[in-house]
């Protein structure tokens, strides 16, 4: 059981790491099944391998493979930023008056909006040709698995909508009308479903590219678009880094805090943390993609 769990955790390591050390590590995990600490060492080791910029295990990697992995990582970071950004937009949609009183809040929102626009354009420029190539490959090769991978984010989205609709439709029947705490009853499963959707959306491009094996010119284009995507992530991070603390301090002034409660403001800190968490790996992946594209 522990050996099996250990082998599952090996999947957390970057692909080039698994190619270099995976077989040996699998052997070690079988010979010496890890305890709780050993399993934790696999998780922290995988995080370290993702964050470490260099290492001889990366050097033998072909340029196309390096670009593919870096572009996949950048896109995954963008998904995390998009989820946090959507949450930020929803929470602060009625903050116009407060932003008018605090020019710094307005400037920060502008930075976030510009970042979101740059990111969307970068994803379209870099991502759409890859989607077209993967779709053509799926049809040409009659590769059902590739088709399923391509459709997986849409399928996950549809399942989420179905879950939400099912919960709303089923509530009156279960409770004889909408009960007082129904919103909470709805929020928890839908939020978990949305997280699962985001995870599928973040991981699917990597799996699609691995299977579709796009040509180098498309990966090079996506790598350059990835530079803009990294810039967009930094802009969103800087915007949130200004917006959230300023809003927090503004709330101490009576009548200037706007319609947000303390809980909502605290959850904006969570969005900020998520974006900052994505920024580091995004910058590392962008640097890797740039190096591979120039090689």
């Amino acid at each position: 059981m522990r050996a099996r769990l250990g082998k599952i955790l090996l999947a957390l390591y970057p692909e080039p790491w698994r190619e270099r050390y995976g077989e040996e590590m699998r052997g070690l995990v079988e010979d010496d099944p890890p305890g709780a600490r050993g399993l934790a060492s696999l998780v922290t080791g995988a995080a370290g391998a993702h964050l470490r910029p260099g290492g001889s295990w990366r050097e033998g990697q072909p340029g196309a493979s390096s670009m593919r992995l870096s572009v996949g990582a950048l896109f995954a970071c963008w998904i995390l930023v998009s989820v946090a950004g959507s949450y930020f937009a929803k929470q602060t949609e009625h903050m116009g008056e407060v932003e008018y009183l605090h020019p710094l809040l307005r400037a920060a929102r502008d930075a976030i909006t510009v970042g979101a626009a740059i990111g969307a354009v970068a994803v379209a420029i870099g991502g759409l040709p890859l989607v077209a190539q993967a779709s053509a490959a799926a049809v040409r090769r009659r590769d059902r698995r590739l088709g399923l991978l391509l459709l997986s984010p849409a399928i996950a989205g549809l399942l989420l909508v179905a879950l939400g609709a099912g919960l709303v439709a089923g509530a009156p029947a279960r409770h004889g009308g909408f009960p007082a705490g129904f919103v909470l009853e709805l929020i928890v499963p839908v939020s978990l479903g949305a997280l699962a959707c985001a995870l599928v959306g973040a991981l699917a491009p990597k799996a699609v590219m691995r299977r579709a094996a796009p040509p180098e010119r498309l990966l090079r284009l996506a790598s350059w678009a990835g530079q803009a995507l990294a810039l967009a992530i930094v802009l969103v991070a800087v915007g949130l880094l200004i917006y959230v603390p300023v809003l927090w301090s503004a709330s101490r002034v009576p009548a200037a805090g706007g319609p947000l409660g303390v809980g909502a403001k605290a959850s904006l800190w969570l969005a900020l943390a998520a974006v900052l968490l994505a920024s580091g790996p995004a910058l590392i992946a962008a640097a890797r993609a740039r190096r591979a594209a120039l090689a």
Binding site: Y21, E23, D32, G54, G55
Partner: protein, 100 residues
């Protein structure tokens, strides 16, 4: 011996001859009473290999032995000497304090 530094433990283990992962874990446990997890061990191996302090040899089946390089031996010697100076000084001071 700095028991918190897996790289040092791995170098010290390989100073006794080439070993594969499992043999290193067993040797380090016997030598320093430290059980290195697989993530910690391979994190250290990857760092040491990137720095040219160890090198992999021909694999036998799933196991790939590693050996210390000349640069690795020099680095290990320097660090052990530094640790030895610290240990010697610390012990001398402790004894002096006990004597007074």
């Amino acid at each position: 011996m700095d028991r918190s530094d897996p790289s040092l433990l791995v170098l010290a283990s390989l100073a006794g001859g080439e070993k594969h992962g499992y043999a290193m874990v067993a040797d380090i446990e016997e030598m320093a009473d430290v059980h290195l997890g697989p993530g910690t061990l391979y994190g250290a191996l990857a760092r040491l290999e990137s720095d040219g302090l160890i090198e992999a040899t021909e694999p036998s089946g799933r196991r790939r032995p590693y050996r210390i390089t000349a640069a690795g031996s020099q680095a290990l010697e320097r660090r052990l000497e530094a640790l030895s100076r610290v240990a010697e000084t610390g012990l001398t001071r402790l004894r002096a304090a006990e004597a007074t």
